[in-house]
Amino acid sequence: MKSLGKIEFYWGALIAITLFNTFLGEQFESSALVSVLVALTVMYKGLMVIDHFMELRHAHKYLRLMMRFYLIFFPSLIILTAFF
């Protein structure tokens, strides 16, 4: 049997995180803790997609930096709004 490749592994991780987020959305009232958890998982998912699906790990560092900034900045706003 062919072993799973890296892309399939990251797909599994992304789906697991999505299920976790959906569970949070269905079962829990929104709180600061839920918002922080969700924001962190969104950051992680985004970074996985740009590095392993878009293959920006091999791209010019400034392009990768811009994309990483985007995916860190906007989920950070979610964390910020949770406390104000």
Binding site: E8, L14, T22, S35, M54, E55, H58, F74, T81, A82
Partner: protein, 203 residues
């Protein structure tokens, strides 16, 4: 940007780092992607600020949404993105038929997204909520509708890529067009990854 054989093999085996940076796809496509992401960034900020101004309205509006439907859509788009990434690897290994099948699977997953989103829109419209109901629904329909149109455009691009793959257009390491289309599709997935918690999970 064309890939030489060494670079193509190194990218197919993702453990192997490249000695020099490789831009996946055309530079023009990256300008387009960055412009699109900027537009969505304005929407995200607008949505977050308006939520702070009308928290009760947003909480009430969100109660009509189905997080499970959002979860299914996230599953569909992430899976679709995964199929496109696998398809690119297959092309690099000259497995064109397999690559075309993977693109068809990606299109199928994208169709799941369209079907679920259309069902969600119908549910809300049946309840009497539309674009002009209140600020929350204006933003909801506008942002998700805009993303919906991007999914349709992405599907057209994926369909074109599948057609060209079947016709053997991506030969001899000339994968720039394929990579550009793939990156556009991953961008559509990325936007949804941020939209999903913003719309369905956090209230």
């Amino acid at each position: 940007m064309e890939l030489d054989n060494e670079a193509a093999l190194a990218l197919a085996n993702t453990n192997t780092p490249l000695s020099k940076p490789h831009l996946p796809g055309d530079l023009a496509m990256w300008f387009f992607i960055l412009a699109e992401l900027t537009v969505f960034a304005i929407f995200f900020i607008g949505f977050a600020i308006t939520r702070q101004l009308y928290p009760d309205m947003f909480q009430q509006g969100q109660s009509y949404l189905h997080p499970a439907a959002g979860g299914i859509n996230t599953f569909a788009l992430i899976s679709s993105s995964c199929f496109v990434a696998l398809s690119l690897n297959a092309i690099r290994q000259s497995r064109h038929t397999y690559a075309a099948i993977l693109l068809a699977a990606a299109l199928l997953m994208a169709s799941v997204y369209l079907a679920v989103k259309t069902w969600e829109y119908n549910q809300l419209l049946d309840l009497g909520y539309g674009l002009s109901s209140n600020t929350y629904f204006t933003l909801y329909f506008f942002i998700t509708g805009f993303h919906f149109l991007h999914v349709i455009l992405g599907m057209i691009i994926l369909g074109f890529m599948a057609f060209r793959t079947i016709n053997g257009a991506y030969q001899g390491g000339n994968l720039s067009g394929f990579e550009s289309g793939a990156c556009y599709w991953h961008m559509v997935d990325l936007v949804w990854i941020i939209l999903f918690p913003l719309l369905y999970v956090i209230d």
